[in-house]
C-alpha cells in the first residue's frame, strides 16, 4: 500500500495565501476536509482531487503525488 501526499498548503501559500475557507468554496467541499487533506488524514476521491487542482489552475499531479512503498 502506498501513500498519497499533497502540496495543498504550499499551493495556497503560492497563490496569495488563499484561505482554507476560500479553497473549500472553490473546490466545493468543507473547510474541515481541506484541513484533513493538508494534514494528510484524508485521501480525496478522484473528482475532488481534480476540483482542487482546478481551483489552483494546475494539473492534478502538481497537487497530489503517489508514493509506492
Amino acid at each position: 500500500v502506498g501513500r498519497v501526499g499533497n502540496r495543498i498548503r504550499r499551493l495556497r501559500f503560492d497563490n496569495g495565501e488563499i484561505t482554507q475557507e476560500e479553497l473549500a468554496k472553490r473546490a466545493g467541499c468543507t473547510r474541515q476536509t481541506i484541513i484533513a487533506l493538508e494534514q494528510e488524514r484524508y485521501v480525496p476521491s478522484i473528482e475532488l482531487a481534480f476540483r482542487i487542482a482546478g481551483a489552483f489552475g494546475v494539473p492534478l499531479e502538481e497537487v497530489f503525488q503517489y508514493e509506492a512503498d
Binding site: 498519497v4 466545493g28 467541499c29 468543507t30 474541515q32 476536509t33 484533513a36 488524514r41 484524508y42 485521501v43 480525496p44 476521491s45 473528482e47 475532488l48
Partner: protein, 142 residues
C-alpha cells in the same frame, strides 16, 4: 469539529437524556409482570414509543435548523456510522435473545412486554450508535 459532528453530538446528548428519562419512568412503574394487568403501564410505554422519537425530532429541528453543508468526506463518515448502527442493533438483539432464552427457557413463552422493550431498546441503541459512529468516524480515512 465538523457541522455533522456537532449535529451528532447534540443528537447523542438529547438521545441520552431522553433514554435516561424513559428508564427512570419505566422503573418507577414497578414490576414488568404487571404489564398485562396494568393498562396504565402499557399506556405509558406506548406514549414513550411515540413521544420519544417525536420529541427527538422536534428538539433536533429546533437546535439545528440551518442546512448542513456536506461533502464527500461527511458522506463517507455517514456510511461508516450506518455500519456501526447495524452492528449495535445486531448485538442488542443477540443480547435480548440470549437473555430471554436463559430466563424463560422451558416455559410457554416470554411476557409480551418484552416485545415493546426490545423495540424501544433497538430504537435507542440505533440512534446512539449512529451518533457515536459519526463522532468517532472522522479518524484517518485513506
Amino acid at each position: 469539529m465538523t457541522l455533522l459532528q456537532k449535529r451528532a453530538l447534540y443528537s447523542f446528548i438529547i438521545g441520552l437524556v431522553l433514554t435516561v428519562g424513559v428508564v427512570i419512568a419505566m422503573l418507577s412503574q414497578g414490576d414488568i409482570a404487571n404489564f398485562d394487568s396494568d393498562s396504565g403501564q402499557r399506556f405509558l410505554l406506548y406514549l414513550v414509543m411515540v413521544g420519544v422519537p417525536l420529541t427527538y425530532l422536534i428538539l433536533m429541528n429546533l437546535t439545528l435548523r440551518k442546512p448542513t453543508q456536506m461533502d464527500e468526506r461527511d458522506r463517507r463518515v455517514i456510511e461508516r456510522s450506518s455500519r456501526v448502527q447495524w452492528l449495535a442493533v445486531v448485538f442488542t438483539l443477540v443480547a435480548w435473545t440470549i437473555g430471554l432464552t436463559e430466563a424463560y427457557h422451558g416455559q410457554d413463552g416470554v411476557p409480551v412486554a418484552f416485545l415493546n422493550l426490545i423495540f424501544a431498546s433497538v430504537l435507542v441503541v440505533s440512534g446512539l450508535a449512529g451518533s457515536l459512529g459519526i463522532l468517532f468516524g472522522y479518524g484517518r480515512m485513506d
